[in-house]
């Protein structure tokens, strides 16, 4: 049952709800308009990961998805090596194309390196290895390279948050070198608050390419989801009566035959300050 709450990986993710499709259109516009550092901001359950995964197959160029939630560290080395390791087929394909093109120099060495060596190089020299991949994509004319970094789990209280912020800062500083690469990051609101407090130069750049997801589903979103799951107006009315819902809560209700408790919908009115 729990897996129904987690988005599937792979091509063909269908976004439900006009608000979420509008968010994806905005994201695609940012990619087309050459934004290089894009953030998807939303609280837990707003669909950041689903939106990110829905880009696969929807954008021109190469899409690489890195799930940082399953990796221990959050520094630049961990992020880049995860992006390479999680997308080894993409790397292999680029290497094949480079070999066929008869490229010389550093890109030839990149093409001939074993996959383990490439991942190790991404770990030891993350920015240099990413720049090589960027140059390969540019040389082959198959860009842009879009790297989606899923970091919806990191909170301001996590000591690794500063490592992560430093890593994004490194992407910011190297945008000129990575001219065919676009980085899309998912962030929780509290990490955004933390960035605004400890790294103003980064915050100023992020502000230009940020997308905030709706906190709650609208009536139109609800209507579409309910129709998609084949429920009638009476069920829709019951769902509306539960109060504002996140997209995850709504999908959960669909998958659990309207079990509000399982879906974490708190109807208790008790509010205290701890």
């Amino acid at each position: 049952m729990q897996r129904t709450l987690v988005p599937k990986r792979g091509v063909g993710i269908r976004l439900l709800g006009p608000s979420w499709r509008a968010a994806r259109d905005k994201l695609l516009d940012m990619v087309r308009e050459d934004y290089q550092l894009i953030t998807i901001i939303g609280r837990a359950g707003t669909g950041k990961t689903t939106l990110l995964l829905s880009l696969e197959g929807a954008v021109n160029g190469l899409f690489m998805y890195a799930d940082m939630t399953e990796v221990r560290d959050r520094d630049l080395s961990a992020i880049v090596s995860t992006a390479f390791a999680d997308n080894i087929d993409v790397i292999k394909d680029i290497q094949e194309k480079l070999k066929k093109s008869g490229i010389k120099g550093l890109l030839k060495a990149f093409a001939k390196a074993g996959l383990d060596e490439v991942v190790e190089s991404a770990r030891l020299k993350p920015m240099e290895t990413l720049a090589l991949l960027n140059n390969a994509v540019e040389y082959l004319g198959i860009g842009p390279l879009i790297i989606g970094i899923d970091e919806g789990l990191l909170s301001q209280d996590d000591p690794r948050a500063v490592d992560f912020i430093n890593a994004i800062h490194a992407f910011r500083n190297n945008m000129q070198v990575l001219s065919s690469t676009k980085i899309i990051i998912t962030l929780l609101p509290d990490v955004v608050n933390l960035i605004s407090k400890i790294d103003t130069p980064l915050f100023d750049v992020l502000k230009l390419g940020a997308l905030t997801l709706p906190d709650y589903v609208t009536k139109e979103d609800l209507k579409e989801v309910v129709q998609e799951y084949g429920l009638g107006p009476s069920e829709a009315g019951k769902i509306e009566a539960l109060g504002p819902l996140t997209m995850r809560q709504l999908i959960c209700l669909m998958n659990t035959k309207m079990d509000a408790i399982k879906c974490g919908i708190d109807t208790a009115g008790e509010i205290t300050i701890e």
Partner: protein
């Protein structure tokens, strides 16, 4: 009464509010029969001191907490409804990207704006949230934790704010 008159006539000084003895007792005399004994009583219970001031004397009203309470009574209350105060605070303090404000900072904002203690500001915020539940959305983080049902939150946002950020 003695402190209200002090608050109106006196000036802030290091140890409290200071007012010329004769001015103070003359005004106080309009309300009580023997103002000098009232001053003496205040001195005896540690709420005032009599100080030499040039050739004359001053009364120093020393209970700062009582003086702030009197000042609050005398200051006209802000004519704004509670929801507006909370919405103003959140919007003023919200992160421009996410639209969320730190609950701890919102409480401080209410404290300063209404000149009330922290506890009262917390209760004020809770009442507004309870009454207008659908106007707010919460997220984890922040410097103070709000427990709503069984979940803890520290960031608060006005529904609909900041969803067009970046456009």
């Amino acid at each position: 009464m003695a402190y209200i008159i002090g608050a109106v006539l006196g000036k802030e000084d290091v140890g409290g509010v200071r007012v010329a003895y004769s001015t103070y007792t003359t005004t106080l005399g309009k309300w009580v029969r023997d103002p000098d004994s009232v001053v003496q009583y205040l001195v005896n219970i540690g709420k005032a001191e009599i100080l030499k001031s040039g050739s004359g004397r001053s009364v120093l009203l020393t209970d700062k907490e009582l003086m702030s309470r009197v000042n609050r009574l005398l200051t006209p209350k802000e004519d704004a409804d509670p929801l507006t105060i909370v919405l103003d605070g959140i919007r003023k303090l919200a992160n421009p990207l996410s639209g969320y404000a730190d609950v701890g900072e919102v409480i401080k904002y209410i404290e300063d704006r209404l000149e009330i203690p922290t506890k009262e500001a917390e209760e004020f915020l809770i009442k507004v949230i309870k009454f207008h539940r659908a106007r707010f959305v919460f997220a984890h983080g922040g410097s103070r934790r709000l427990k709503i049902g069984s979940t803890y939150y520290g960031l608060i946002k006005v529904v609909g704010d900041a969803e067009d950020a970046g456009s």
